[in-house]
């Protein structure tokens, strides 16, 4: 992990709600993998005129990596950016997702949040011919999926978080990765885990993972604002995460 500078090379509007920024990044960030993130902050060209508002860095999940040190980020179209803007980036943050070796079917869940943390894995999984299903819950149902690869099956959940053939989908999936609204993540993850436990015989270890998106003040494990209680240990979201096995999390 290191601090480096990047600049916005191109901005592409992918649909009504989202834009994609292509960032020209330092070589060290080209090793970023699905599950890892960046902490980004706009900076001035002149270091002395540093402004402190906004103060904290934003947690950005890359969605694609291109040749020539270009990293793609998907953000809300409401945020204003312009090409050539300078960014200070700390990263890569966290550990890559750990997939089962014999992964054939994967279920992705976005609950009340954009599925951006889950998108970077898509190209490599589809290349390995893994079947991908994405369930959008709550406000995430409004997410426009037209720019996602056609091979990804999209399901819109009902208000009670259920969907058709839920038992079959959960039984069929070899692994589940979920992202939730960072405001009340633990409660949302607890809801998802409860749904699984109600519809599966058991939820084994390394089956269901939650991707945490809480604000990370430092991103390097210094501030301990992102400590999570797991069974038998305290883990740092920014160092040991960002994904944790939901069955090992203490939800209270």
């Amino acid at each position: 992990m290191r601090e480096s500078q990047a600049y916005i090379e191109r901005i592409k509007r992918v649909n009504r709600q989202y834009q994609r920024l292509e960032l020209a990044v330092h070589q060290s960030l080209t090793s970023v993998l699905a599950g890892q993130a960046l902490l980004a902050r706009r900076i001035e060209k002149d270091f002395e005129s540093e402004r402190w508002d906004p103060y904290l860095r934003k947690l950005w999940f890359p969605v694609d990596l291109h040749a020539g040190n270009l990293l793609t980020i998907e953000l809300s179209a409401h945020e204003q950016f312009s090409p050539g803007e300078l960014l200070s980036i700390i990263g890569p943050i966290g550990q890559p997702f750990r997939f089962r070796q014999k992964l054939r079917n994967i279920l992705l869940i976005a609950n009340q949040t954009t599925p951006a943390p889950l998108l970077m894995m898509l190209p490599s999984l589809l290349k390995r011919q893994v079947s991908v299903t994405m369930v959008l819950m709550g406000e995430a149902r409004a997410y426009d999926t037209s720019h996602l690869p056609g091979e990804v099956e999209i399901i819109h959940a009902e208000d009670d978080l259920s969907w058709n053939d839920m038992v079959m989908t959960l039984g069929w999936a070899d692994q589940v990765f979920a992202a939730c609204d960072p405001g009340d993540e633990l409660r949302h993850f607890a809801d998802i885990l409860r749904l699984m436990r109600e519809r599966r015989n058991d939820v084994p270890l390394n089956y269901a993972f939650g991707v945490f998106q809480r604000t990370l003040p430092c991103g390097v494990g210094a501030c301990h604002a992102c400590v999570l209680n797991l069974r038998g240990a305290q883990k740092l979201q920014c160092v040991d995460g960002l994904a944790f096995d939901l069955t090992t999390l203490r939800m209270n």
Binding site: M1, R2, E3, R41, E50, W52, D53, P54, Y55, L56, R57, S88, I90, D181, P182, G183, D184, R214, T215, P217, C218, G219, V220, G221, A222, C223, H224, A225, C226, V227, L228, N229, Q234, N252
Partner: protein, 309 residues
Amino acid sequence: MAIEITRSRKYSLVVSTPVMPAAGAFGFADSYRAMIDYEKLGALVTNPVTIDAWNPAAGTRTVPLDAGLLLHTGLPNPGLRKVIRRYRKTWSNLPIPVILHLAGTSVQHVSQAVNLLDEVDEVAAVELGLSDDLTEGEALALVCAASKLEKPLLVRLPFYECYQLALPAAEAGADALVLTAAPRGTARDAHSGRLVSGRIYGPLIKPMILRLVGRLRREVAAEVPIIGCGGIHSPQDARDYIDAGAIAVQVDTATWAQPKMLERISRDLGGWIATRRKDALLDEWNPDMGHTEALQRRAPAPRANDLGK
């Protein structure tokens, strides 16, 4: 350059530059090793440690504010014994002294911690953190218990009770006063809609703490050094604290926003203090400058008439 940042006694703490991270901003050991050159710092102040393990706070812990943040972590730590076991080797390999921040909880716990820490050579000094809700009597009892330590003792005072506690803490055995812990505040979390209480960080708190440093420097005995801490976000901020009477500074959350800023402040302040001591102008200073050279450089330039003769 050697700067003694604690009272001159049998045990005192000497640092090479008067800049260090504040407790809670830098982790327990080497979290920032990949980004910051530790040799440029004066010391490392660890995150707060308690004798027993503490769990993180429930609910929202970080609320972004305009040019700052509110933080409520609950001081999660694995307990003093585990911290020593885990980080002792790393501390011994650091090029700077380690100051362990001990959260003052009870006299009994502080006494236990003192007994443990006396055996740990890798810890050069201890900073005792006094919480906001202590009475004067309770605070002094904690300082007295901690002063039995055979290492320098720094005492970090709470923001609101700073005036009441500074003089008694210095008399009770503090070798240096750290002014101050970040003030407490309450803000609404936009995600959950709830009010969250915690400590406030950001550039805005600097003027408030700077005033405390200036005023207490006049009131506290001169032999008790004061270390300024709070809202430092630029080299000029750090210089302001030195001008107000602090002997050293601690940089808190600026490191999170701009990790290189700590190193930059450290380089700037080290040079600036050396320059002032040698009575040289800023552009005349170099790290190896002797007093004679400094005086020669400050001699008035010859006048045109003199040159003509």
